[in-house]
């Protein structure tokens, strides 16, 4: 009240350049004060506020034109621009003190639209007027409703919280109770919940029945002190409080829209939007039911504790990381990125065990011991559940052990169809384990599924292993991700097993599915990763594709597969050469077996012979076929059927080339491509079609740059 004389000046100056209270506190020069005063006098709004601030108790209201006039001035400004916070203090005091009469009390409250914030002291003062008990009931209700409406604009709430007890005492007023309950709901902290307050509320509940506002408040009390009160909310009950802002809503949002530019950023949100999160936040709390594990509760704990699910941002998490309380049900945290951050950081074994127990139990009950009554038909829910798990695992970059063991059980009963994308995704998160277990738990059931399923599923499976391998190798620092019980050699064995297993699956699958193009391409994509294990992922492992994959790719009818094979062979060569070099230089501990070189050379020979040397079935190679048998087929010049010209995948290119070279020729003679410069042109033509893999392959292995008759199939590093 000390600053009242200066308030007038401030009212006219919404930009707040002149801080009147500060000026009076600092005892600025008289001249400045004079200037302010003059400025204030010039402004009708300032004068009006000044007048209103000086209205004393017992002022005649009826027929008081001056009061009416000033009131009108302030009202107009309030409804158009909103009131600065100091004016709100003054007017609230005027209204609640009833100095201007009860009629004006309601009137003032109705136009009390804050421009920016509401000072908390004004509210505290208002509550003290409430305690005086002079106000008529409708004014009291109006006041509390107003407080609820502007609650989010109150600058700071700690003093308000410290008079919690005073506010609480009004719950016994029947008319006021719903609004007071809402206000308490917004204010309540854990330390406010006491047995006597609980008992009071329960008494009121006994008197009034189950009113939603009481239930809400009690539910909040239960969240804070489950040891004092318990309550179960029927699922269909409407949660939340009614909005009491009808009186001010329109004016408030209009003012706020207008002042948007001037208002501080975090308050620029409209009231409706702002009110929601604060309510929502609390409702969610009920659902998650924070743990105060009944017994653990310590009343005298001074440090503020945060429940994990109340945190909104990573910043909040960082600031409160030492006072975080885990929820009663760890399962509620699944899918929350913040919570997973926290779990990952604190490495609380009990917490992760609880999460795992819950997860394992849910998966087991849902998918393995599913009730026969058909209630588990809800695939969309199951799908969502698995997706949440997937999200969490991908976030942690590690699978949960309970999902892992669930998958091993589930694979033996899975039909390969139910929730396929999710299950395959989950499978790709499985960590590598000793090869013995991989065989037993993973390969056996998958093999059965693979061989009895459609080609699409087979493609999916190879894709799965592709991902599995990618994930494995992408962990560049693989020694760190090794489970403690796995040695390096065990790890290598497992990778080898995995690759061999995929090789086996792929070659059998290709045979069964008649070299399905999609499956072949997926398989080759897998080997594109495998061939680079040494160079790209520093794994001292080089594993060749089995013949069942190599030859179908070599003799494939689509050019993409052949090109890919060329690229793969080219990369193998690079890897092997480097490995050899390192081995010779540094006497490294790892040793790539001679068989790998032999296998590579055999494959290389076959490829070069068939494509370059036009002699695809050399006696002694893998694909030796009896000459008489071939001659039975009556194919002319059988030996060059798979060279770069006649290969079924490249045949069409050769024809095109031929047409371009000799457009006038009627008889197509592909053999003429091989002569002279045409051969080089043809090579160039072919590689211009985007066959980079073949290009690389031919360049490195035949040294082709000019080479027409380059018969040289140099074998890299084949000497032991």
């Amino acid at each position: 009240m000390a600053d009242l004389s200066n308030l007038a000046g401030l009212g006219s100056d919404p930009s707040g350049e002149i801080d009147s209270s500060a000026s009076s506190a600092n005892n600025r020069s008289l001249r400045l004060a004079e200037k302010e005063k003059r400025k204030g006098e010039a402004d009708p709004f300032g004068l009006a506020v000044k007048y209103l601030s000086q209205v004393e108790a017992g002022t005649v209201v009826r027929g008081n034109d001056e009061l009416e006039r000033n009131m009108l001035v302030v009202e107009t400004v309030a409804l158009s621009k909103g009131l600065p916070s100091e004016v709100i203090t003054v007017l609230l005091d005027l209204a609640l003190s009833l100095n201007a009469g009860t009629g004006n009390c309601a009137r003032v409250l109705k136009f009390l639209i804050p421009a920016t914030v509401v000072p908390q002291e004004a509210i505290v003062k208002g509550v003290s007027w409430l305690c005086v008990g002079k106000m008529p009931m409708n004014a009291q209700v109006l006041f509390v409703r107003w407080v609820l409406t502007v609650f989010d604009l109150i600058d700071c709430k700690d003093n308000l919280r410290s008079i919690y007890g005073f506010i609480f005492s009004f719950v016994t007023e029947e008319n006021l109770c719903p609004f007071i309950c809402h206000l308490l709901y917004l204010l309540t902290m854990r330390e406010h919940v006491h047995p006597y307050r609980v008992r009071k509320l329960l008494d009121i509940q006994a008197k009034m029945g189950r009113q939603p506002f009481l239930t809400q408040l009690l539910a909040l009390y239960k969240v804070f002190r489950p040891d004092l009160v318990t309550l179960s909310l029927p699922s269909r009950v409407r949660t939340g409080f009614k909005n009491h802002n009808s009186t001010w809503k329109v004016a408030l949002s209009a003012v706020q829209r207008k002042n948007k530019g001037a208002v501080l950023v975090d308050q620029s949100l409209s009231l409706d939007v702002k009110e929601k999160p604060s309510t929502r936040k609390r409702v969610r709390c009920h659902l998650c039911n924070t743990v105060k594990s009944l017994t653990e509760h310590t009343l005298n704990s001074n440090k503020k504790v945060f429940c994990l699910q109340e945190l909104r941002s990573f910043r909040e998490l960082l600031e409160n990381i030492h006072n975080i309380e885990l929820p009663a049900q760890m399962g509620s945290l699944l899918g929350s990125a913040l919570a997973l951050h926290y779990l990952d950081c604190v490495q609380d074994e009990s917490a992760s065990l609880r999460l795992n127990f819950w997860l394992g139990h849910s998966l087991q009950e849902e998918f393995l011991l599913c009730p026969v009554d058909g209630s588990s038909d809800n695939t969309s829910e199951a799908c969502r559940f698995l997706s949440t798990i997937l999200f969490s695992q991908q976030f942690l970059q590690e699978g949960f052990s309970s999902t892992e063991s669930f998958l091993y059980k589930f694979l033996s009963v899975w039909d390969g169809c139910l929730l396929r994308p999710q299950i395959l995704d989950l499978l790709s998160d499985i960590p590598l384990m000793p090869s013995f277990y991989m065989h037993k738990l993973l390969f056996e059931p998958l093999k059965q599924l693979y061989f009895t399923s459609t080609v699409f599923f087979k493609v999916c499976m190879v894709l799965l292993f592709f991902f599995l391998s990618v994930c494995l190798y992408q962990a560049r620092a693989w020694p760190c991700v090794l489970p403690r019980t796995m040695t390096l050699s065990g790890f290598m064995d497992s990778v080898m097993e995995l690759v061999r297993f995929v090789g086996l699956l792929a070659s059998e699958g290709l045979r069964l599915e008649n070299c399905h193009v999609l499956l072949l391409n997926q398989t080759l994509a897998f080997y594109e990763t495998v061939c680079d294990m040494f160079l790209k992922y520093s794994l001292p492992l080089i594993i060749m594709p089995p013949a069942g994959v190599f030859y179908p790719a070599l003799f494939a009818t689509d050019s993409v597969s052949v090109d890919r094979l060329g690229y793969i062979m080219y990369r193998y060569r690079k890897n092997l050469t480097l490995a050899k070099k390192q081995e010779q230089q540094r006497e490294q501990t790892f040793h790539i077996s001679r068989n790998t070189y032999k296998e590579f050379n055999r494959n290389l020979q076959a490829m070069v012979n068939s494509m370059w040397n036009s002699w695809w079935c050399i006696p002694g190679s893998d694909i030796e076929i009896d000459k008489d048998l071939i001659s039975l087929s009556k194919v002319p010049e059988p030996w060059c059927r798979f060279d770069l010209i006649h290969h079924p995948a490249l045949f069409s290119y050769a024809i095109e080339f031929h047409q371009r070279c000799w457009p006038e020729r009627k008889n197509v003679d592909l053999g003429s491509i091989k002569t002279g410069k045409y051969w080089n042109w043809y090579m160039e033509f072919l590689f211009n079609q985007g066959f980079d893999g073949l290009n690389n392959f031919i360049q490195t292995n035949t040294g082709h740059s000019s080479g027409l008759s380059s018969q040289d199939d140099r074998q890299p590093t084949s000497q032991p």
Binding site: L218, D227, A328, F357, S401, Y408
Partner: protein, 373 residues
């Protein structure tokens, strides 16, 4: 109506011819390997399932980290009332119990049972009148008592059994009316796998077996309360036929010391319409058969799963001789003797408290096998 029930009561004589072939199965009891040190990953979202010492054991329907024992000690009578309060024992013996398994309880304290009683009572009251808050600690229609049944635990790792009783006090009951017991249940762990129990962090209490008797709705409420308070999960525990086979053999083995009166077995055969066979064996005959497979005076105290299998095969073969029905084509659904009974769907009855430990050990084991890893 579409079901034929064949009740067959007869005495078994002339065992010798039938069981000569069984004898060779003996003596091959496999001891469970000695426990190995436990290792744990530093960074764990749960415990890895393939690390030592756990193995996966593929059993039909489920797979588990725990070893399924292939041999166990013979049932021994012990005067349980010397260890445990006879009043408590009397509570366990009377009823038929429905079985469930529970994952380990987080932050459960045996010292807090009184406050748990109050909380559960308030919770039940609140659930019964949805939307009305209930003060914890007020007597509101239900009285819940948690009691620790001390002495039932066998090893240091076993947590003590907890017995829960719910009494209802109708609002308009006369003062003299005694409150009616409407629900009983208990959580127990007897001879639980020590490796498993030791591997749990100290803030967990594992009481894997939950037996209930009373209305289904109250069971659900109690389970919900436990799930909320101790972040655990319940699932129904169905017994498998191996467990029933074990029980039949173990109980039969007790006949010399304690009259089992009869060995009643019930089979369900997958015929159309389904055929239920109830097979009652004279206790002496059953025992003689068992004794021919596992002689009483044998030096080895362990009974092997093969012996148990032989015993059941013997009973089935004998049945086939008389009725030309292969019982092995169906499922054994129930075993009962004077010592107790057990049903495939997870219902048990305890007949004689002196052999309670054997039964509970077996059931604890079944419950632990259901634990998610």
């Amino acid at each position: 109506m579409g079901k034929r029930d064949v009740q067959i009561f007869f005495l078994l004589f002339f065992w010798l011819g039938v069981f000569l072939f069984i004898m060779e199965g003996r003596g091959s009891a496999v001891n469970t390997p000695a426990s190995r040190p436990l290792t744990r990953r530093s960074k764990s979202y749960g415990r890895s399932c393939v690390e030592a010492p756990s193995y996966f054991w593929q059993t039909p329907g489920h797979l588990t980290v725990l070893k399924v024992p292939t041999s166990r000690g013979a049932a021994k009578s012990q005067l349980i009332t010397n260890k445990v309060d006879p009043e408590h024992i009397a509570l366990l013996v009377k009823n038929e119990w429905k079985l469930s398994y529970v994952t380990p309880l987080h932050h459960f304290r045996h010292t807090q049972l009184k406050s748990y009683s109050r909380h559960l009572a308030a919770f039940i009251a609140a659930e019964n009148q949805q939307g009305v808050a209930v003060e914890v600690g007020l007597e509101a229609g239900f009285k819940v008592t948690f009691t620790a049944v001390l002495g039932l635990a066998e090893t240091d790792e076993d947590a003590e059994t907890v017995f829960i009783q719910i009494q209802s006090k109708p609002a308009f009951a006369a003062a003299a009316d005694a409150p009616k017991v409407v629900w009983r249940g208990w959580l127990t762990c007897v001879n639980g796998d020590p490796e498993y129990l030791r591997s749990l962090p100290s803030d967990f209490v594992s009481l894997p077996l939950f037996c209930t008797s009373g209305s289904e709705s109250l069971t659900t409420l109690v389970k919900t309360w436990f799930e909320r308070a101790f972040d655990c999960n319940f699932g129904s525990l169905a017994l498998n036929s191996t467990t029933l086979n074990w029980l039949a053999a173990l109980w039969t083995g007790c006949h010399p010391t304690c009259n089992i009166r009869h060995l009643k077995l019930a089979w369900s055969l997958p015929t159309q319409p389904p055929l239920d066979v109830s097979y009652t064996v004279n206790p002496q005959d059953a025992w003689e058969l068992w004794n021919s497979i596992h002689p009483e005076e044998s030096t080895d105290d362990k009974i092997d799963i093969k012996e148990v299998q032989s015993f059941i095969n013997g009973l089935e073969t004998h049945f086939f001789r008389h009725f030309k029905i292969y019982l092995s084509a169906g499922t054994l659904v129930k075993v009962s003797t004077a010592l107790g009974s057990a049903h495939l769907d997870g219902k048990i009855k305890i007949g004689n408290s002196d052999y309670i430990t054997t039964l509970l050990t077996l059931l604890t084991e079944s419950a632990l096998l259901k634990m998610p890893t």
